[in-house]
Structures are given as C-alpha cells and as structure tokens.
Amino acid sequence: MAREILKRIGTAALTVFAVATLTFFLTRAVPGNPFLSEKNPPQAVLDALNEKYGLDQPLYVQYVKYLGNLLRGDLGVSVKLQKDYPVARIIGEMFPVSAAIGFFALLWAVLLGVPLGCLAAYRRGRGTDSALQVVCTLGVSLPSFVVASLLLFAFCGGIAGWKLFPTLFQAGDWRSYVLPCFSLGFYPMCYIARQSRASMLDALGQDYIKTARAKGLRTGRILFKHALRNALLPVLTYLGPQVAFTLCGGFVVETVFTIPGLGRYFVQSISSRDYPVILGTTLFLASFLVGMNLLVDLLYQAVDPRIRLGREAA
C-alpha cells in the first residue's frame, strides 16, 4: 500500500516535470519577446533587458538553469507584467482571490447538485425528474460567458430597479461574490446533478438494493447509506480535476466581473509573453491537478473498499 502510494507520487512528479519541459519549450518556440512592444525600443535596450533576465543565453542553458531554480523552489521573477516581482509571490497573492470564489462555487455546486441528482433518480420519469433534466441539460449547454454577462446585465443595473449587486468587484464585500460564485458553479452543479442521477439510477437497479429493501430498511437509509455511497464515485472522478481548475480561477468569470484573480492573470501573461509567469502558473495548476487526481485515487478506496491502488479494474 505505502509502496503503491510512493510509486504514484513518483509518476505524478514525473508528469509535472514533463509539463514543465513541454511548457518551457512551447513558450520559447513562439515568435515574439516580452520586451517587444508598440514603442519599438532600441536594440541596445533590448539587449540589456535580455541579458538582465538571462534570455540572451542558449535555450538549453536557460532550461537547465530554470530546472535548477525550480528544484530550490524558485519560480523566478516576472519580466513584463509586474517587473522583477517574484512569481511565487504573484501566485500567493492572486490564488486566494480565485480560490475563495472557486471554493464557494464548487461548494454550492456539490451541495445542491448531488441531492438534486438523487431526487431526480428517485422520482424517475415524473414531473420533478423531467423538470430537473431540462434545467440541468440547459445548464451544461450555456457557455459561462453567456451566463456571467447576462447575470451582470440583469442584476448590476441593466434592468431598472434590479441593481442588487455592485458592478465592480471589491474583495471582502460579500455582495461582490454572489454573482461570480453563481456563474462559476452553475455548470458544475448541473453536471454533477446529471452525473449523480445517472449513477444513482444505476445503483438503484442493483441487487443489493433489493436485498436492503427485503430486509425492511427505510427508504431514506437505502437511498443515502447504500445507493448514494456507490453513486458518489463518478462524481468524485469529476470533482478531482474540477477542484484544481475552478480554484485556479475561471478566466471568463474573472474577466466579466473584473476580479483580479489567477485565471485572468494567466491569460494576460501568455499574451504578453511573460515566460516566468506562464511557466509558474502552469506548473502551479499542473501540480494541483496531478495532486487532486492522486487524492481522488486514494479517496476511491475510502468510498469503495473493493478498489485497490495499482490494480486496474479492467
């Protein structure tokens, strides 16, 4: 068991390393330079800047240096967006903003999605089920920028008398969090509801449910103790990577609601070729993602003792 976990951590580290390498060479393969701009600085200035940030050295030297720094936990400094500011500190400042919104978004998505899915499965084929199906299919069909911008329009002053929430994001003011959390969590909520309905239906058709029924257990106990436990597995699989993506910020929601979060910053860093920031944020997301996948694998065992690490269910 411990060996399996160690092996998993080893491959996870390997994955992160591969991502680092790939991202490094991918960003450098793109024409353009962080210091090129509309102003067209003189060559001497460019040379000096390139030298200062080590961008004048051969690519493999830069790569080895970067990996060396990475092993010491040094992500480098931003070369464009916030000059000379450490990337680690940028992530440290932006991540909590995105994570707060992402956390509440996923929280309501799970707390509402799972029960709604169970309810739909329990009332299968009835009005409740059909209504929930319509809402949830619609939910997974609406692009997030549509949801976000329509909400912004409706509740931030577009319709007279409905200005319930501030237009500009202010950290710490709870009213600024309501709409972003809602729009960020709407898609996962509908997805989770659909998924848990499907797996709940699957679980309810199993023999052990009939057995439980035959033993005379109460409906609530059958639903929540026996069926739900097995129905949660697919939801867990979905949630693992989703937690990483959502906590690192949704670009669309952050743009529409002008939230100074990591997602928006990441996209800005790509278009301005701020190499260290791109690499740092990508690695942060990748390690988070790989870590979450590992955690989900471990959680599987807690939920379903039949699953053992290292043995593929084939």
């Binding site: 393969a29 997974v140 692009p143 920028f145 309810l204 035959a214 409906t219 059958i222 790509i270 790989v290």
Partner: protein, 445 residues
C-alpha cells in the same frame, strides 16, 4: 393492475397491494383455461426482424426530447445555410447611416415626434452654471457647504442632461404613447419605405458599423457548426485509434501512452491554443503565400486562427475519447472472437480495425456527438478571448464577445447570438443523450 396513486420505489416493492388482492376476485374461470397452442407459442416466436441499427432507430424515435432537438438542429442548419441567401445584406457589409439600430423601429411620424420631443427637453434642461448656482443657494439655505467635487458633479450632470435630454428615450416614448414595431430601419430606409419601396428590415438590429446582425448571426452559426463538426471528426479519428492501440497492446506500451495522455491533460489548453495560434499563424500565412492546393486556399478563407484551432483540437481533445475507447477495448480484447482472430493469424491492425472498433461503435458515436457541443463551447470561449475567428468572418462566440462592450446600451446584441448558441449546444447535447440511450441501452441515464 391497481391504480398507481402511491409512488412505487424504483427498486420495486415486496409488499402486496390491497387492490391487487381484491382484483383476484374479479378473475373469471375463463382466465384459468389452459393456454392453447397459438398462445403458448406466441412468446417464443421471434419478434420483428431487428437489426442493431433498426432497433436503435426505434428507440431513438421514442425519445421525444431527442427528436425535438434534431428538428431544432435541422432548422438551425437551414437558418445558417439558406438564411444569408434570403437576407439581402452581406455579413461584412457596412451600412452608413444605419449604425447601432435597435431591432425595432417607430413609424416615420412617430420618429419625428420623438426626436422633436427629445430635443425640446434637452433645451429645457438648465444651463450648467445656473444649476450650480441653484445648488449653492439650496445648500446655503440648508446651512451646508458644497465641496469643489460636488460642484463639478452637478455641472457635469447638467451638461450631460443638456446634450442627451434629461430623460431616456424609452421614458419619452412611453409618455407620448408611441409603440415600437418589429425590425430595425434606418432613417433613410423609413423614408424609402414611405415612398412605397420594399425595404428588408434589420430584424436583429445593426452593430456599431451598421452591419446587419441577423446575417452575422447566420454566418456565425455556420462557422460554429463547422468548428464543432470538424473538431469532432478529428477527435474521433485520433482518439479512437490512440485508445484502441493503447488498450489492445497493453503492458508497457499502454503505460507510456497513458502517461502521455496524463501530461496532455495537465497542460492548460488555453496555453497551448494561444501559443499554437501564434506559431501556426505565421507558418500558415507563409505556407499560403508559397503553395497552392486545398490547404493553401483554405487559409485566407477561414483565417489562421480557425485553422490553428482545428489543429489544437486534433492535438488536445482526443484525450477523453481515447480513455473511453481504451476502457472498452480492455473489456473486449479478452473475448473469444478476438482470440479466434488472433489464432487465425490476423494482425493487430486488422483486429483493431475489423473486430474491436466496430464493437465500440455505440460509444464512439455517442462520444463524438457529445464532442460537438464542447467544441462549439471552446470555440466561443476562444473567440471571447480574442483568439478565435478573425474579422470580417464571425462566429457566435465572437459576436457575443463583441456585444459585451456595449452590453449596457445594446443588450440585444448579446442576447441574439447567445440564444442561438445555447439552443444549438442544447440540441446537440439532447441528440447525443438520445443516441446514447438508443445505441447502448445499458448506458441509459
């Protein structure tokens, strides 16, 4: 059977119902007669000759939501393909004097009344300096003092009121009792219409360059559909092959291939697409300038961003498909017919092509169908980022993101493409769900 007023739990009930027991009393002796030969053999007679495909179609036909969605999709295809032939405006055509038209208009007389009233009110608005003096006097009467900031605000408000009219157009319209009519016409159009000419209205209004939004939405639908379908085709080919090979070979090959999948999965797709569109953009332009042929001609037509988007799809999005197919192949490859084929000397390629992939056809069709909406999703997201379809061509996503700038004044510019986009994705999702239920009843959700 007795009435079904009490909800039965989905797992069935072991308890007898009173109604059922009472119903036993109504059985006649006739019900206990031994079954004759036609009745006895009836259940044994095979049902109507049913191939897999016919069975699936029968199940699909029974799904009203999926059928409705299919009809909506056909309408959307018609809208996108035939629509621009009907509307006499081009999607990149500027109409001077028809900028920022709303999707409604007023009759010519009403329009003049409205404008006269608006300008009258604007003139009636107080002069900025007068307003400041009045505010100062009021403040003095209350015993308060006004800061320079307050004064500047009052002056600015008064100036704004003077230029636009203190009240909004909608308010004046309501007071005058003028009713808007369907379709946007410019002033010139209205005059031509009054002269008896037939003028096609701008049903969805126009944007700030005076381009007809209806035609742009139609062309955008076309592009979004094209993106969705071709991305799904790419994903289908690459994902199915990769998954089948990985699953069939197993062992070390499988382990390496799955690691690659994991790496691709861990890189944010936005990064790859943004970078690729820059790299490929220049390369594609150079290629188009030096070569001839299908691809070279496609570049100026579709724009470099669209093509690099296809390529990114090909590079990134097959991951889910390959995982699903791999799982299926892992299950199937232990079956006897695979062993038999191998014993007969069939090569791995032949087994995958002739035996394994045809047996996953249900999964493949369903996953491909559900891939279309997610490709459309991603295209609209990329257009939102500004790296999607390039002007003058447009897509539903770029229309929506253009509309975001003027959201407060022209909300309908967002609403029209957003509704079409959502309807399209919804229909693809519903058809996909229907296909899944029809092709693979075990997966019924």
């Amino acid at each position: 059977m007795a009435d079904h007023k009490h909800p039965r739990p989905p797992w069935g009930s072991l308890q007898l119902r009173a109604g059922d027991i009472l119903a036993w009393g109504e059985l006649t002796p006739e019900d206990f007669r031994p079954a004759g030969s036609p009745e006895a053999t009836a259940p044994l007679r095979p049902g109507p000759e049913g191939s897999y495909r016919r069975d699936a179609w029968r199940r699909f036909r029974g799904n009203r939501a999926a059928l409705g969605a299919l009809a909506v999709l056909l309408l959307l295809v018609l809208f996108a393909l035939a629509g621009p032939l009907v509307v006499p405006y081009g999607y990149a055509q500027f109409h001077a004097g028809a900028e920022n038209l709303p999707p409604y208009h007023y009759a010519l007389a009403d329009q003049e009344r409205l404008e006269a009233e608006l300008s009258r009110r604007a003139q009636a608005a107080p002069d900025p300096e007068e307003a400041v003096e009045r505010a100062l006097a009021e403040a003095q009467a209350r015993g308060e003092t006004l800061t320079a900031v307050d004064l500047a605000r009052i002056r600015a408000e008064a100036r704004a009121a003077q230029s636009q009219g203190a009240v909004s157009e909608a308010q004046v319209r309501r007071e005058l009792g003028i009713r808007p009519r369907l379709g946007g016409y410019s002033r010139e159009d209205l005059e031509r219409k009054a002269a008896g000419e037939a003028v096609f209205p701008h049903l969805f209004g126009t944007d700030r360059y005076g381009r007809d939004i209806l035609v742009r939405v139609m062309v955008g639908t076309r592009v979004s559909m094209l993106v969705g379908l071709s991305a799904a085709a790419l994903v289908l080919v690459i994902g199915a092959l990769y998954g089948a090979v990985s699953g069939y070979c197993g062992g070390r090959v499988d382990a390496v291939m799955q690691r690659i999948v994991e790496v691709i999965y861990s890189i944010p797709e936005v990064l790859v697409i943004l970078l690729l569109s820059t790299v490929l953009g220049d390369a594609l332009l150079a290629y188009a300038n030096t070569h001839t042929g299908l691809l070279a001609r496609a570049v100026p037509l579709l724009g470099k961003n669209l093509i690099s988007m296809f390529l990114s799809f090909g590079l990134l999005y097959w991951v889910t498909m390959s995982r699903i197919i791999r799982g299926q192949v892992l299950q199937l490859k232990g079956q006897e017919y695979v062993t038999a084929a191998r014993a007969l000397g069939a090569s791995g390629a032949r087994i995958i092509r002739r035996h394994l992939l045809p047996n996953c056809i249900g999964q493949i069709v369903v996953t491909t169908c559900l891939q279309i909406p997610s490709a459309i999703f991603l295209e609209s997201f990329l257009s939102f980022l500004g790296v999607g379809v390039t002007t003058p061509l447009t897509s539903l996503g770029s229309l929506a993101s253009e509309a975001l700038e003027g959201l407060w004044s022209y909300p309908y510019r967002l609403i029209f493409p957003a509704v079409i986009l959502s309807a399209m994705i919804l229909s693809f999702n519903l058809v996909g769900d229907g296909l899944r239920d029809a092709l693979d009843p075990r997966l019924k959700r």
